[in-house]
Amino acid sequence: MNPPDDLEQRLRALAPAPVPGHLRRRLAGARHQVRVPAKPRHAPDGWLAAWRQWWWAPLSATALVAATLALRNIQPPASAPAAVRVFTAESADEFLLRAEPLELVWTESGQPFQLVRCTWIDRESYRAPVGDDRVQLYQARDEIVPVALRIF
């Protein structure tokens, strides 16, 4: 950068107009408009500061452990025994609901098989220990059944 020439020196010799008195007083009072969060007056260093800030932490942890242990020793009130009727299995059977031919397959020995998808309904019957009440359980079951074919 070039050294300042005569013109720059003359410019710097021009002083900005002074602040008028009324504005000086106004700006001086504006200090009270500046709101800065106050800092703590004394911040001790080291372990003492940490202790003062976190003294409650070990107490809280101890209280938490004690509360946990105390709660574990409290047994929930036993519930009243409910009336339970145990049904015993009486019979079980099944019946074919659907048979769907799928495809033909041959074994290495040349025996052909027809694969059939069979849908069965399993039925289980349960009987109450007292009285004639019965419960029947139905459940669908798929099964691929190979049906040997005879070659004429």
């Binding site: 005569d6 410019l11 710097r12 602040v19 106004r26 200090r31 500046v34 800065v36």
Partner: protein
């Protein structure tokens, strides 16, 4: 809980910088009242942003510039904006020696195009670097340097005879 800046620090800072900041505020506004309002608001904002410590001057100049722009955009200031551009208060301290050349130079600064005058003011009386001016005005540093050179050339051309 809030606190205020230290009174002595605040006053010393004002004594050191208020005049140059007012000069810039006057150039960025159209009336003396607007300049005073902008200056006060910018000072308060800058000190708050500096956490109650003396703020860096580039921050203050930037804040003055932004607040002046906001003020000019305000609808309630439309009437004020329509007033003549000539400020009511002088920008520079009258030369105690009564040198005519200095007074003419001060008048010539006022006649510079605003972008050149702004760079000149921030550089000469604000004490900012070209990069700081670039940051404050959102202008590339090369452009800032060019504007400064153009301003000096214009002033030098005007006063060739006086400064020879």
């Amino acid at each position: 809980v809030h606190t205020n800046p230290d009174a002595d620090v605040w006053q010393a800072w004002l004594d050191a910088h208020a005049a140059r900041l007012l000069l810039y505020a006057r150039q960025q506004t159209r009336t003396e009242a607007d300049a005073e309002d902008v200056l006060q608001d910018a000072l308060v904002e800058s000190w708050e942003r500096a956490a109650g410590q003396p703020p860096p001057l580039p921050l203050v100049f930037t804040t003055i510039r932004r607040r002046a722009i906001d003020l000019a955009r305000g609808n309630d200031r439309r009437a004020a904006r329509e007033q003549p551009d000539e400020p009511l208060a002088p920008w520079f301290d009258p030369d105690p020696a009564g040198h005519e050349a200095q007074q003419l130079l001060a008048d010539a600064v006022k006649q510079l195009p605003e972008p050149q005058r702004e760079v000149l003011t921030l550089k000469v009386w604000g004490g900012l670097t070209f990069q700081q001016i670039a940051d404050a005005t959102g202008t590339p540093a090369n452009t800032v340097a060019s504007r400064y050179r153009y301003a000096l050339d214009a002033l030098r051309q005007t006063f060739t005879q006086l400064f020879r």
